[in-house]
């Protein structure tokens, strides 16, 4: 009798390992969990298979040599990283950016946000096995990246947002081409609505799944489309406007609660906002040939003045932060980037996955837009 009780007391569930597909999560991660009645118990997320602290290399090089490295820190938000680094250096060096460059910076940031949306669509569609939407999303993502390469004037991965402005101007006919092609994408979004967003299967699979309360979001400091899905209208573009975001129009929608459905719809609303901003840019961009302040690049200014700078940017998945400290030499003393993934991928994810059904785990992971490679950069 005693031994039976003892056995019950010491009863331990076996721990399993779940490795999400690369299609649903953009990187390598694994989840250790116990299972009870088809639901996860005490899950722990592990990112040890990912390369971490990439930005530690930046201390070894000079400020100017770091420019091509910075854009390689993030997969979707590479232009947000460039914007952060460039604006931090501009603040330290007291350099002004030409007006045209500000518009071009916002243009490339918004285009990269749209390409990030299509990557998100690819993740979500593959988690729910909507094969056609998955292929459409990939092709549309490539289309947007082609526009970005048209603006940059090359097909290779080179930095565009650099301290002092941008690396090249845009011709008016390329601008017109992008404008008309974006109209086509807006028409194409109606097909997405028919096949995906208004589909009853999609609604059944996502509504009331992976619900996050408003209190949890404020406690953990979640930003971006996840916080907007819980009706917290925090947006760095409006709260702490940078470049020309104080002029641009942004609309927010109201959602019932932050479940998978409202998170996906919130991301879609972000994409609609990006198109709204691009429309505003195309009609208001000033004409000018000066897009780079060359004062940032002279042999006298290799050493950057002593000081600190903290910059915040609204990236595709939330608030991206950069901290730079200079000690008056040509190399940074401290430089650190913080991705929105740092919050969503930590304890917050363990908490959400608790008591989630094994059938829903892929949808929940995809709806959060996880980037394990950006966990600690």
């Amino acid at each position: 009798m005693f031994s039976a009780v003892k056995l019950k007391m010491n009863k331990k569930y076996p721990r399993f390992i779940y490795i999400p597909l690369r299609e649903t999560v953009n990187g390598c991660m694994r989840i250790e969990y116990e299972i009870e009645n088809g639901k996860l118990n005490s899950p722990t997320v592990d990112y040890s298979s990912e390369k971490l602290s990439d930005s530690s290399v930046l201390i070894l090089n000079s400020y100017m040599k770091n420019i091509p490295l910075v854009s390689r820190l993030s997969f979707t938000d590479n232009y947000a990283c460039e914007e952060l680094y460039a604006s931090a250096l501009e603040e330290l060096m007291n350099i002004e950016v030409p007006e045209v460059a500000k518009y071009l910076r916002v243009m490339i940031l918004e285009l990269s946000r749209i390409s990030g949306f299509f990557l998100y669509m690819f993740n979500v569609a593959s988690a729910m096995e909507f094969e056609m939407v998955k292929i459409w999303a990939l092709s549309d993502m490539n289309r947007i990246r082609k526009y970005i390469s048209l603006i940059k004037g090359d097909e290779y991965f080179s930095p565009y947002i650099i301290p002092g402005g941008v690396s090249g101007g845009v011709l008016s006919h390329t601008m017109n081409q992008i404008y008309y092609d974006l109209e086509k994408i807006q028409i194409r979004m109606k097909d997405y609505d028919k096949l995906f967003f208004e589909n009853e299967i999609f609604k059944l699979k996502t509504k009331n799944v992976g619900v996050i309360s408003k209190q949890v979001i404020t406690d953990y400091g979640i930003t971006g489309f996840i916080s907007r899905s819980a009706n917290i209208t925090f947006d760095v573009r409006k709260k702490l406007p940078y470049e020309i975001y104080h002029e641009t129009p942004i609309e927010n929608r109201v959602y019932d609660k932050s479940d998978c459905y409202s998170r996906i719809m919130s991301k879609k609303n972000d994409m609609d906002n990006s198109i709204r901003i691009l429309d505003y840019l195309f009609s208001n961009i000033p004409r000018g040939s000066i897009f780079l302040n060359r004062d940032a690049y002279s042999l006298d200014k290799i050493n950057i003045p002593e000081g600190r700078s903290v910059k915040r940017v609204e990236a595709a998945n939330g608030e991206f932060i950069c901290f730079v400290e200079s000690d008056g030499t040509d190399k940074p003393k401290i430089i650190k980037f913080r991705s929105p993934m740092y919050i969503t991928g930590g304890n917050f994810l363990n908490m959400i996955l608790e008591q989630t059904s094994l059938d829903d785990i892929d949808i929940v992971l995809a709806s959060l837009s996880l980037m394990p490679m950006e966990m600690n950069i």
Binding site: S62, K65, I67, L69, P159, S167, Y297, S298, L299
Partner: protein, 103 residues
């Protein structure tokens, strides 16, 4: 003899996998375009700014010449930094097509 060989092959499973995939039939892939950084020595004043900016240390600037070696990753930072506009990007295939048009 051929029969025995065939049986032996099938028994020992020594089938030559490459028999159906002859190397002579393989496709030779070629890059559609090749880009490189071109220097205009006449307008260069050897200030060395491009050298100080290059992450891969591919550029070496002398008083008479600017050398860019194969370590170049085409980040094009040197082009946007150059105060004299002495550096530019060139595509080999574009030049060829332009020559063909002339002919």
């Amino acid at each position: 003899m051929i029969k025995i060989g065939g049986i032996l092959e099938s028994l020992l499973q020594i089938k030559y996998i490459t028999r159906n995939y002859d190397s002579s039939q393989s496709y030779i892939t070629t890059a559609s375009s090749k880009r490189y950084i071109n220097t205009d020595i006449k307008s260069c004043d050897s200030c060395g700014l491009c050298e100080s900016v290059c992450i891969t240390n591919a550029i070496t600037v002398d008083e008479k010449s600017v050398n860019i070696n194969e370590k170049c990753i085409l980040c094009r930072l040197c082009i946007s930094v150059c105060p004299k506009g002495a550096l530019s990007e060139k595509i080999i295939n574009e030049e060829e097509t332009a020559d063909e048009k002339k002919l």
